[in-house]
Amino acid sequence: MDAGAKVIEIIAEQAVIDPSDINLDHSLEDLGIDSLGLVESIFAIEEAFDIAVPFNANEPSAGEFDFSSVAAIIAAVEGLVRDKA
């Protein structure tokens, strides 16, 4: 499974919807994922890819990780996976 499909699967599970209902330009807010859901999604992504996602709930936009859309999240995860290799 490629990174994009895995990220979508994680986000879909949090949003309690089918992965096929997720569009790349959806934001997490569009999908009804709140701040706790975001933290859980980050945890699941870190576990799935064995990466550390820079995120502080006090300043959600401060990190370099872009959470603005599903596509942005996938790109950021791919970047972290590349950096690890």
Partner: protein
């Protein structure tokens, strides 16, 4: 003075997953203690406990709830649902602001702590689930109860080891009696039957390796249980006005501190608590027909508790019945007083005194009517429920049969 009554009860414990099943087991003198089924039990020297069995969390809670509910919170929510269902109380509007939850637990989310310490220390993981803190915190059960039933008044957790539930229920009683609140959910929950939980208790050398035999000459220690008990307390006139079924009246409560030793019990502290509860209730000593004992099955507790009963009740001590239902449901630590309050409700409502099972040999230092091994039919007007915690913190509740 405002009067306080119980209009709902719920429980899950080793005997049953509801109140009726628990009453049935208490009547039958059935023991819920058995071999522990937990991870790494082979590394424990204590291998028995009163575990809640046949419990499927997914049958009660959705995925998000399970993510946030430690086992002790799950037990609390199940018991609270039953209690609210029985009471039929609707909490909204002004009542919501005058309703709260005071809840007892000693270990809180101990199982969650145990699992996650294992993950980071033993398994070397560097990351734990983001909700470990809200899951393990000791007020998690109280908070989730408040959210589920819209309790917007005073709500908090009481943690006084083995007296946690009695302190919680006593405070809930006082809040309604004094006019601070009109309705309270109260009781306690505990789930310490995990490797770390038992391992810590082993160290004290107070646990039995084979059975819980309170008051019996051959008793050799306590046996831990798990579960929860939750009650709906209401002001009497409000309960009557809405036509609620009243299960019993809470008539008195007293708390004392031994101020002497961190583990050894004190006859004097226990006696002051029982005498205080009777005085608070404004009744005569002779009206007390049944005492649900703290009765842990340790040499020290049972001897000291019986001496305290003899001191407080004098010649009436021989007339009253005193039993330890821990012999059946185990010692639920911070949840124990809540499950034991059910034993008092059964005695008052059904006229059935639950026994002390596992009783094999009389002890001259426990020479009271401990209702050995078989339940007994008897009409009881007033019952006391004792709790004497490590740390010397004692809490005794007095209840009266409600006859309208």
């Amino acid at each position: 003075m405002r009067r306080v009554v119980i209009t709902g009860a719920g429980t899950i414990n080793a005997l049953a997953h509801d109140v009726d099943g628990t009453y049935k087991a208490l009547r039958e003198g059935r023991c819920g203690i058995g071999p522990l089924e937990i991870r790494d039990v082979d590394r424990l020297s204590v291998k028995i406990g009163a575990q809640v069995r046949g419990f499927d969390e997914a049958a009660h809670f959705n995925r998000q709830q399970i993510t946030l509910y430690d086992r002790f919170t799950q037990f609390a929510m199940i018991a609270a649902r039953q209690a609210m269902h029985q009471s039929g109380l609707e909490i909204s509007g002004e009542l919501a602001d005058r309703a709260g939850v005071v809840f007892g637990t000693s270990g809180g989310g101990l199982t969650t702590q145990d699992e996650n310490y294992r993950a980071v220390y033993e398994e070397g993981k560097n990351r734990v689930h983001p909700f470990i803190v809200p899951k393990l915190m000791s007020n998690a059960a109280a908070s989730h109860i408040s959210m589920e039933w819209n309790l917007r008044g005073p709500s908090f957790t009481v943690s006084t080891a083995c007296a946690s539930s009695n302190h919680a229920m006593g405070l809930a009683f006082q809040m309604i009696r004094s006019g601070i609140c009109d309705a309270m959910l109260t009781g306690g929950s505990e789930s310490m039957l995990c490797f770390g939980g038992i391992k810590a208790w082993e160290g004290l050398r107070v646990m039995s390796h084979d059975a819980c035999r309170p008051f019996s000459a051959n008793r050799n220690g306590m046996v831990q249980g798990e579960g929860a008990g939750v009650f709906v307390f209401e002001e009497l006139e409000a309960a009557k006005a809405r036509g609620a079924e009243i299960l019993a009246e809470i008539i008195g409560f007293a708390m004392t501190s031994d101020a002497s030793d961190i583990v050894l019990p004190s006859r004097e502290g226990a006696a002051r608590a029982m005498a205080g509860a009777v005085r608070d209730a404004g009744i005569a000593l002779a009206e007390v027909g049944y005492i649900n004992a703290h009765g842990t099955g340790t040499a020290a507790n049972d001897r000291t508790e019986c001496a305290a009963v003899a001191e407080v009740f004098g010649s009436h001590a021989k007339n009253l019945m005193i039993s330890s239902t821990k012999s059946m449901h185990g010692h639920l630590i911070g949840g124990t007083g809540a499950v034991e309050l059910l034993a008092c409700l059964m005695a008052l409502r059904d006229g059935v005194i639950p026994p002390t099972v596992g009783y094999e040999a009389p002890d001259l230092e426990c020479a009271l009517d401990v209702v050995p091994n078989e339940a007994r039919e008897a009409r009881v007007e007033v019952a006391l429920s004792n709790a004497f915690a490590f740390g010397g913190l004692n809490a005794v509740i007095a209840l009266r049969r409600y006859s309208g």
